[in-house]
């Protein structure tokens, strides 16, 4: 072999079509760590790994045969020490003196091979990451679509609710107007009736009293007591009509907002009270400094009713206390007695007009009193309520609204 070719810095190999090696240079032998052995005469597959033998049969050799050349073929060679050597091969088919031989040059590429491995690995990782990303994106897309769908559903629901709300508000307005009108009519009616009743009632009472005065000498005791009963009942009826009138009037008048000294007012009312015949007058305890902003006349009526009730339902006397205490987050006034009390079952019913719990004739009244109290409190923007223990007493609370507080 030509000395240059033998020592050129790449492997040189030539083999025949049947695979027999015709020539190999020293560089190749050194590469394969077979310096001491000859390659000529051996089959070229003997220096290939198994994988390379397959590739040689399926790609390398056919390519050489059909095209006459092969370039950048990656193969692995088996070295004499048994390790694998990755190489790059360029081959050409030549006709040398009538014989076809395949000339190859062989360049080792250990480092390149490692580098390629890295690149291939990175490429594979990237593909996997992309696949995962695509999957996540697909899932996100599905989620997004589901979310959009939900959003649309919610919007539809909202629209429905809006429409419903409008309808309801419309209905409420209608109802409220109807109720207001009905109430106004009722109040006007009550007022008119009460007003028209007063005259005749006054006449009945006064004529009874005049008659009684003029006939006191002539009539017998029983007849005189008949007249007494007549005027008594007339006055009672009058009082009822007055109460009714006041109750009805409450719906029609505006309320004042002035400072009212509740303690003073209570004391004033107490001074004018006398218990029913046969009952003891209770002792009174009025907290000082009770103030509120409201309608003085109405508040007087409210207090009168509550205090009168307290006295009326404490036939044994006891103590009536008037003051204010904190109830939850606000404070309320109260009128408390130690009288006969009532069953809490009726705690709300008692504030309705004409609802009387005690048919006992000891307890007279028109049945309008508490209803009036409730109405006055509510016209002030407040409320009334009561607690009680039968046999031990009752406490009536009232507030006169946020505007009522000083």
């Amino acid at each position: 072999m030509d000395e240059v070719l033998n020592s050129v810095p790449c492997g040189y190999l030539s083999f025949a079509d049947d695979g027999k090696i015709l020539a190999a240079n020293q560089t190749l032998l050194d590469m394969l760590e077979r310096s001491d052995r000859k390659l000529e005469g051996q089959h070229v597959e003997s220096i290939f790994t198994v994988a390379s033998r397959i590739f040689y049969q399926t790609h390398f050799l056919p390519l050489l045969t059909v095209k006459g050349r092969a370039e950048e073929i990656y193969l692995t060679l088996r070295s004499g020490t048994g390790s694998d050597l990755p190489v790059l091969v360029n081959a050409a088919r030549v006709d040398r003196l009538g014989r076809l031989s395949n000339d190859c040059i062989v360049v080792p590429m250990r480092r390149r091979s490692l580098f390629e491995d890295e690149i291939l690995r990175a490429k594979k990782d990237l593909e996997e990451a992309n696949q995962a990303k695509d999957q996540v994106n697909a899932e996100l897309e599905l989620t997004r679509l589901a979310l959009e769908k939900k959003q649309r559903e919610l919007q539809d629901r909202n629209c429905e609710l809006e429409a419903l709300k409008e309808r309801l508000e419309g209905q409420v307005e209608e109802r409220t107007t109807e109720l207001s009108e009905a109430l106004e009519d009722l109040e006007s009616f009550s007022y008119a009736i009460a007003h028209d009743l007063r005259g005749p009632l006054r006449a009945i009472v006064s004529t009874s009293e005049i008659l009684r005065a003029e006939t006191s000498a002539i009539l017998a005791e029983e007849q005189l007591s008949l007249l007494d009963r007549q005027s008594f009942n007339g006055r009672k009826l009058s009082a009822l009509v007055d109460d009714l009138l006041r109750f009805a009037r409450l719906g029609r008048q505006g309320i004042l907002r002035e400072p009212v000294n509740v303690s003073e007012l209570a004391m004033n009312i107490i001074a004018g009270i006398s218990p029913a015949h046969g009952s003891k007058k209770p002792s009174f305890n009025v907290q000082g400094g009770l103030r509120v902003r409201g309608d003085p006349a109405l508040i007087r009526i409210l207090l009168e009713n509550l205090i009168q009730n307290a006295v009326k339902y404490s036939p044994e006397g006891g103590t009536v206390r008037i003051g204010s205490k904190s109830v939850g987050e606000t404070s309320a006034f109260f009128v408390q007695d130690t009288g006969i009390g009532f069953d809490m079952e009726f705690a709300e019913k008692i504030f309705q007009p004409f609802e009387r719990l005690h048919s006992d004739s000891r307890f007279e009244g028109s049945g309008i009193g508490l209803a009036t109290v409730k109405r006055i409190a509510e016209r002030h923007g407040g409320a009334v309520w009561a607690t009680s223990l039968p046999g031990q007493g009752s406490t009536f609370y009232f507030t006169l609204g946020a505007a009522g507080r000083l």
Partner: protein, 250 residues
């Protein structure tokens, strides 16, 4: 006569054989999708991950050209492809000629010798990843869509033995990791097994195995060595095929 190339390279490998049969037969040559000059846009990784996909290619070609009484000549893995096609449409084929066939390449001790163990195949697959013969051509079909670059038209001709690493690797996997021994006995068409003397890819043991299990089969052991007798020993190849076909007609 339909010629199906095997793993590696394309229909050009039959160029030394087909002229001998042109007078007597309508010759059909094709490339599987993913090989040779095929349109890579038709490559479907799922379809071509198993040999059944390749059998479909064969049947599609026969259907398209309305071929009857087909003498199917298949090299290497195409022998199994031919068997699969014949099982699916037996009426289409008259003979199967199998060049260097093997139904399974991996040994199954203690009895079956396929020629390789799994590690060898893994190594081969790694090698497929690192060979880029004609790699640029696989970009060409996509680039061809750009009419402003006519100079690219010439490159497609260099397609023999192209190994787009991804497609080649998948073909290698479909070929070398598969085991089709179970279908061998179902082949309904008579066949010729052309066994090379020293073929590491389809060793003699495999030829014997096929003779035993392939119904109506004839085994011809060739003087040719290596895996591509139709390239390395075309005369012997032509002779054996001619004789077989003559006997079949008789």
């Amino acid at each position: 006569m339909v010629f199906a190339h095997g793993f590696g390279c394309d229909q050009n490998m039959w160029r030394f054989i087909t002229p001998a049969f042109e007078d007597d037969y309508r010759i059909t040559l094709f490339d599987y999708v993913g090989s040779g000059g095929s349109d890579l846009r038709a490559y479907d990784p799922d379809r071509y991950s198993s040999l059944e996909g390749y059998a479909e290619d064969v049947l599609d070609v026969c259907e398209e050209l309305d071929l009857k009484n087909v003498v199917f000549v298949g090299h290497s893995v195409s022998s199994v492809v031919g068997m699969l096609a014949a099982i699916k449409q037996p009426e289409r084929f008259s003979r199967l000629i199998l060049v260097g066939p093997s139904p399974c390449y991996i040994n199954e001790p203690p009895h079956y010798v396929g020629g390789f163990n799994r590690a060898d195949i893994e190594e081969l697959l790694g090698m497929m990843d690192k060979n880029y013969i004609g790699w640029a051509n696989f970009l060409a079909p996509a680039v061809m869509a750009n009419p402003g670059r006519p100079e690219l038209a010439g490159e497609l001709r260099e397609s023999f033995c192209s190994t787009d690493p991804v497609i080649a690797r998948r073909f290698a996997e479909a070929t070398f990791l598969s085991d089709y021994r179970s279908i061998v006995e179902k082949v309904p068409v008579p066949s010729l097994i052309m066994q090379c003397s020293e073929d590491i890819i389809a060793p003699l043991e495999v030829g014997d195995y096929l003779k035993l299990h392939l119904p109506q089969s004839t085994l011809a052991v060739m003087k040719a060595t290596g895996h591509c007798p139709h390239m390395s020993h075309p005369e012997e190849t032509i002779q054996i095929i001619r004789n077989y076909l003559a006997e079949s007609r008789a």
